[in-house]
């Protein structure tokens, strides 16, 4: 708290600040991504060729889009476990309703978007109106939606949409100079990402973060909590719908498409340094988390690691990445309140509540506690714990 005075930005400090950002939880995912991409390129130099690289982006696009949707839910303090089932349902809907009739593509696409928004609306209303923890509400939606989809198809792969519709996930703008082909998925991903960044910067996007950080304060500052929260669920379901549209072309119609996407998305978002429980995180980092995850899989493939060990490596990486960001975040948590993030950790990085070395930090905390009694436990609590709802 003494370090507020030390704020003369010099070139050296700025460079140090940039370096610190890169190793900070917020920037770590980009560092991880760069390291992974370099490692892949060393193992397989052709990966760096533009045409190969754009294929990689095409492969990541659905996961990244789902992660972007999940970001809004998580930063708002909730979970959406139903995304995988939404993807599956949309893929099956596209396969069965479009059929070989090209002219139906547009109406069915509209219907899918409406359906996605509706699922999100139901999720959001169950969470906000019935006060069911989002973990449970979306878990129920996941079971019910997947069950209904499988019941509809009889559990088998049925239906095959018209080729024109599958082009969205499969085709692209051909005969381009450097990259040879610009897949539509990449275009869609860029559009979604730009919209997401724009949206996150709007007042509404900032309200979501405020709501995730502290619902009580958000309510007192005039937020309609139920509507903001509901809209995050609608965003996530809509993003799952878009991912479904891409996957129809890329992976085909099968009830197993989309399975496990919710956990992949949550993993990607958390890798991106977004704090479970809400209130902190950057949407670009969440998308970068999806890229890092997929790059990790690609690296394991190229390195000849048996596919059965993929899960084990993924598990270890997740734990390490989150452990890294969690321990770093703890060290600088005090700085956040004063909005002077970088240089502030110097005086007492170890004076967090965990160490009970001397009475001095305790007194300091007491002073802070008496100044602002209520918010302290809740903001600190939000860092490390899973908030189920309300």
């Amino acid at each position: 708290m003494t370090a507020v005075t030390t704020q003369q930005p010099s070139v050296g400090q700025r460079l140090a600040g940039f370096g610190r950002t890169l190793i900070s939880p917020r920037g770590a995912v980009f560092l991880l991504l760069i390291v992974l991409l370099i490692a892949i390129t060393l193992l397989n130099p052709s990966f760096a060729e533009p045409s190969q690289f754009i294929r990689f982006i095409q492969r990541v696009a659905p996961v990244a889009i789902v992660a972007i949707g999940q970001y809004f839910v998580i930063v708002g303090g909730e979970f959406d476990l139903s995304m995988g089932s939404v993807v599956t349902a949309q893929v099956v809907i596209a396969g069965n309703l479009i059929g070989q009739d090209e002219s139906k593509s547009l109406p069915v696409l509209l219907f899918m978007l409406v359906f996605g928004a509706f699922i999100g609306l139901v999720n959001g209303l169950i969470v906000t109106m019935l006060k069911v923890p989002s973990f449970i509400a979306t878990l129920g939606m996941m079971l019910a939606l997947l069950g209904a989809t499988l019941y509809w198809t009889g559990g088998a792969a049925t239906g095959n949409p018209a080729d024109g519709f599958r082009e969205i996930g499969r085709g692209g703008i051909r005969d381009l100079p450097v990259i040879d082909i610009l897949p539509w998925s990449v275009v869609v991903l860029v559009v979604v990402l730009v919209i997401a960044i724009w949206f996150a910067r709007r007042p509404f996007g900032r309200t979501i973060i405020a709501l995730g950080d502290n619902p009580t304060t958000a309510r007192f500052s005039g937020t309609r909590n139920w509507w903001v929260k509901t809209s995050t669920f609608m965003i996530s379901s809509l993003s799952a719908t878009v991912a479904g549209v891409l996957l129809v072309g890329y992976a085909g119609v099968h009830p197993s498409v989309g399975r496990g996407y919710e956990f992949t998305a949550i993993t990607a978002v958390v890798l991106g340094g977004v704090v479970l429980g809400g209130g902190r995180g950057w949407v670009v980092a969440a998308a970068a988390g999806a890229f890092a995850l997929e790059a990790l899989f690609t690296l394991l493939n190229f390195a000849g690691v048996p596919s059965t060990y993929r899960d084990a490596v993924q598990g270890a990486i997740i734990i390490l990445a989150v452990a890294y960001s969690a321990t770093t975040l703890r060290a600088r948590r005090k700085g956040r309140a004063l909005e002077a993030p970088a240089p502030l950790i110097s005086p007492d990085p170890s004076s967090g509540p965990s160490t009970e070395t001397s009475p001095a930090p305790a007194e300091e905390q007491d002073a802070a506690a008496s100044a602002r009694p209520a918010p302290i436990p809740s903001t600190q609590r939000a860092d490390n714990e899973t908030k189920g709802g309300s």
């Binding site: 169950i126 019935l130 006060k131 069911v132 923890p133 973990f135 449970i136 509400a137 878990l139 129920g140 939606m141 996941m142 079971l143 019910a144 997947l146 069950g147 209904a148 499988l150 019941y151 559990g155 949550i266 993993t267 958390v270 479970l276 429980g277 059965t308 060990y309 993929r310 899960d311 084990a312 490596v313 993924q314 598990g315 270890a316 997740i318 734990i319 989150v322 452990a323 969690a326 703890r330 509540p353 965990s354 009970e356 001397s358 009475p359 305790a362 007491d366 506690a369 008496s370 009694p373 302290i376 436990p377 600190q380 609590r381 490390n384 714990e385 899973t386 908030k387 189920g388 709802g389």
Partner: protein, 360 residues
């Protein structure tokens, strides 16, 4: 300090009774509706065979959910249970290898391995400060990688003597369910009467306050994770005894991770931690078992079963939360007296500071 602990225990017990009561009412309601539905297709819900089916269906999920309750009370989660279940069924079947003399050794090894996994979970959550959701998702994936790489299919052989645990019963009550209920009694005793058990409520309710009250917050969380993995191992042993072999997919197929969490929440335990009870969880598991049983008897399409399950989970929790919302208030005052609150709020900091100084 001691008086504060005593009042919190007393208040906790009253609250737990309330929660269990609502779950019990819900269970009775589900049983009545189920009995009517089953009667409508001309079968008897309360026949000995049917009751045995329900109780058998409860036992595996019951084991997992007891452990999950402890973890969720500490405001953590355990998503690694299905893989622990599969792993312990495989280790047990491999070590027993059809020889009854190996049973104690195999059970011991399984419990130790599961305990170590739980210890790893707990240490990652408390020492590395990784959210329980991510930590256990990660360890679960690591175990899954191990299972997928080393086991191609079912493996080992369980001797007949061990299979009896899953097969026999006392009257209509299967032995496995009796063991599960015994574990539940132990769990409830542990929560109500031991220091670590009480600390679980404190740490789950508010870790900062628990720490400032002089509780070593890491220990209850680690213990909860260890116990959760061990109860999951019991579930794996039970499944091995039923199947006669160990299977690498038995845990994942059952979906025990999410279903156990759902059962715990259905039983009135707050997902945010700090409030709940073992008996509520058993009630939640029983509700699941009854719903599943009714659907089986009525021969519902297996895919539609999932739809019904999802709707039941959401509806039941919705009913529960809407009822318990007004019960949330007393947490912020002491007991009934509202004027106590400001005095209460201003009192703790000096006391804590004193304690700190005394301890330093």
């Amino acid at each position: 300090m001691s008086t504060a602990a005593a009042t919190s225990v007393r208040r906790g017990r009253r609250r737990r009774l309330d929660a269990s009561l609502i779950v019990g009412i819900a269970l009775v309601g589900v049983i009545i509706i189920g009995a009517i539905l089953v009667a409508s297709v001309g079968r008897n819900f309360f026949s000995a065979g049917n009751i045995r089916d329900i109780l058998t269906g409860m036992s595996v999920l019951g084991f997992v959910a007891i452990g999950q309750t402890l973890v969720i009370l500490c405001a953590s989660l355990d998503l690694s249970v299905p893989y622990v279940i599969s792993l312990s069924s495989l280790i047990a079947a491999d070590l027993m290898a059809g020889n009854p003399a190996n049973i104690p050794f195999a059970v011991l090894v399984v419990v130790i391995v599961a305990g170590l996994i739980g210890l790893a979970n707990g240490l990652i959550v408390t020492k590395l400060k990784v959210n329980g959701f991510i930590a256990t998702l990660g360890t679960g994936l690591i175990i899954k990688g191990y299972l997928d790489s080393n086991y191609k299919g079912t493996s080992g052989e369980v001797p007949w003597e061990f299979q009896l645990i899953g097969a026999t019963g006392v009257g209509p009550v299967p032995v496995s369910t009796l063991i599960m209920l015994a574990v539940a009694v132990l769990g409830a005793f542990f929560l109500a009467r031991t220091r670590v058990g009480n600390h679980m409520f404190a740490v789950g309710g508010n870790e900062q306050v628990a720490r400032l009250s002089g509780i070593r917050t890491a220990r209850p969380i680690i213990v909860a994770h260890v116990l959760c993995s061990i109860t999951a191992a019991f579930a794996g042993l039970l499944l091995a005894s039923r199947l006669g072999v160990g299977s690498p997919t038995v845990g994942i197929q059952g979906g025990y991770d999410l279903l156990s969490i759902a059962a715990v929440v259905l039983g009135g335990t707050l997902l945010m931690g700090g409030r709940g009870s073992i008996w509520g969880t058993i009630g939640g598991v029983a509700i699941f078992a009854v719903v599943d049983n009714v659907m089986s008897v009525m021969q519902v399409n297996p895919f539609l079963k999932d739809v019904v399950r999802g709707v039941v989970i959401v509806a039941a929790v919705a009913v529960y939360t809407s009822r318990s919302l007004d019960r949330r208030r007393p947490r912020f005052g002491t007991g009934s007296a509202a004027p106590d609150t400001p005095a209460d709020r201003s009192a703790p900091p000096p006391a804590v500071a004193h304690e700190k100084e005394a301890s330093a």
